[in-house]
């Protein structure tokens, strides 16, 4: 479904992503794990078109999207839950969801919103509230709900566990599993490698902008070097 080949991204003079290639098949959960600054978020931003790769190609559902404007990429069936959630703090919960539906035909909005509220009942309770008044966990749910409003074929999540209490992290990962079982392909970027590998089918390990190893998630969980570096022994 998604195939990234030879991605090279620079931030000014900083060489952030070095010759990265990977793929995500339909129906999979694939995770990119690695320490802070390994280039994981940069990769997601480049796939979404917010940054550009100097070389190579990004193909989504068989079509090249490396030069497509970021707003047009959403329309093709890709959504991203960005790092730090980035919900619209001054807009209400409901308006945030409406923004997630921006590229879609108006008729489907109510139905999809109900779907999101069903999955995240807390959002229904707070639908008139301004997003800035939500807790971190609620904001994460809103960011995920907002991304789901476009009913994406590929959902990319950037550090969904960041800054959340352990119980909430469990809940978020449970939801990721549910979404996948409901048919959404997922690309997950995480520092919490343990949780990520438990929900994923396959994983890629990044170090300073390079993919150093890849395997099935269960094999990575058992891998000695991965365990030492990212799973706390």
């Amino acid at each position: 479904m998604l195939k990234v080949t030879n991605m090279n991204v620079y931030y000014g003079n900083i060489y952030a992503v070095k010759d990265v290639s990977f793929h995500v098949d339909e129906g999979e959960v694939v995770t990119l794990i690695g320490a802070n600054g390994a280039g994981k978020s940069t990769i997601l931003k480049t796939i979404s078109g917010l940054l550009r790769s100097k070389t190579g190609s990004i193909s989504f559902a068989g079509e090249e999207i490396g030069n497509v404007a970021s707003h047009a990429i959403v329309k093709r069936g890709m959504a991203q839950v960005p790092e730090g959630r980035r919900v619209f703090l001054q807009m209400s919960v409901q308006e945030n969801l409406e923004m997630g539906h921006y590229t879609q035909q108006g008729a489907t909005m109510t139905e999809r919103m109900e779907g999101v509220y069903e999955r995240f009942p807390r959002l229904l309770e707070r639908r008139k509230q301004v997003a800035g008044t939500l807790s971190g966990g609620e904001q994460q749910m809103l960011a995920m709900g907002r991304a789901l409003m476009s009913r994406p074929r590929l959902l990319m999540l950037d550090e969904p566990s960041m800054g959340l209490a352990p119980l909430l992290v469990e809940q978020i990962f449970e939801i990721i599993g549910e979404l996948n079982r409901a048919g959404t392909t997922i690309l997950l970027v995480e520092q919490n490698a343990n949780m990520a590998l438990k929900v994923a089918n396959r994983g890629y390990v990044l170090e300073t902008g390079r993919i150093i190893t890849t395997d099935s998630a269960s094999a990575l969980l058992e891998d000695d070097t991965v365990r030492k570096a990212y799973l706390g022994g």
Binding site: S48, S70, H71, V74, Q80, P82, M91, Y102, S150
Partner: protein, 293 residues
């Protein structure tokens, strides 16, 4: 002149300031640009209205529509030619460009229309005469000015609060990157914002030309600066704050005039700007600026 008449005068000017100030606030809200060419768009609007009514012999409504459309088109052209290429440039470059556009528009107007004042036939636009309420004689133009400006602001409020485009404007002004991830075409929204601000300026141009019926290449400069003060006072970036700011400046001017200090009006307005910047730089209803981490 009775105090009540001063107040009516203040409301009339406040309506105009509020309309013009909204253009500043909307553009600032979306790309953090103080668009100092905004006042000069109103000057161009004054000429468009003047020529539509005189040379074009258009009926009032048509002339008004042509003026609003002309201002909107001009702002979109300026945005595309001058500001869009600087989308990723430092903000200071954008500000200097805006000042450059302001000077350019004034000089083009002087080149084509000369620096001489031209009388504006306000009577062709709005009905003359006045209505007597409780012993006060209030000019129709004052009533129309206040009504038209409140109607425009209500329309703006509806647009921003309830329409898909208006919500997208708020989303872009809060977080451009996140808005892009929603599939919002940020460039379109920015252009649309300029267009809406300029349409309000077009209405402002009509109202201002009727109030001060002498059109010259420099009429936009002082009006623009005062509306800028109104926007800063109310809280630049905040639409309700800016509306309040506009009326506050209009009424302040009226009070200073009523106190017999009409020569001090401009000075007092700019003194207010200095005080606001010292005491509460975010204005009455502005949000404190928070740097994103």
């Amino acid at each position: 002149m009775s105090f009540a008449l001063h107040l009516i005068n203040g409301l009339q000017m406040g309506s105009i300031y509020a309309l013009v100030a909204l253009g500043y606030t909307m553009v600032y809200g979306i790309i953090k640009l103080l668009n100092f060419a905004h006042g000069d768009i109103i000057m161009v609007g004054g000429y468009i209205a003047l020529f539509s009514l005189t040379l074009g012999r258009m009926p009032a409504l048509l002339a008004a529509l042509v003026t609003v459309a002309g201002c909107t088109l001009l702002a979109v052209i300026i945005e595309k030619l001058a500001y869009t290429p600087l989308r990723f440039a430092p903000r200071l470059s954008l500000l200097i460009t805006a000042i450059g556009i302001s000077i350019l528009l004034q000089n083009l107007a002087q080149f084509f229309f000369t620096a001489n004042d031209r009388g504006f036939p306000g009577h062709l636009l709005f009905p003359t005469g006045s209505v007597s309420i409780g012993g006060l004689s209030i000019a129709y133009t004052s009533i129309i000015t206040v009504a038209l400006s409140i109607a425009s602001m209500a329309a703006l409020h509806l647009l921003v609060k309830s329409t898909k485009l208006g919500k997208a404007m708020r989303a872009v002004s809060e977080d451009q990157g996140a808005a892009q991830l929603m599939g919002i075409n940020v460039n379109h929204i920015i252009t649309f914002t300029f267009a809406v601000g300029a349409a309000l300026a077009g209405v402002g141009a009509l109202l201002y030309s009727v109030r001060f019926p002498l059109i010259a290449p420099t009429i936009g400069a002082m009006l623009g600066l005062k509306a800028f003060v109104a926007a800063v006072f109310g809280g630049i970036g905040s639409i309700p704050g800016t509306m309040v700011g506009g009326y506050a400046i209009g009424l302040l001017e009226a009070l200073v005039t009523a106190a017999g200090l009409s020569g001090w009006v401009d000075g007092v307005v700019f003194l207010l700007l200095i005080i606001v910047l010292m005491v509460r730089p975010t204005g009455l209803m502005g949000r404190p600026i928070m740097e994103k981490v």
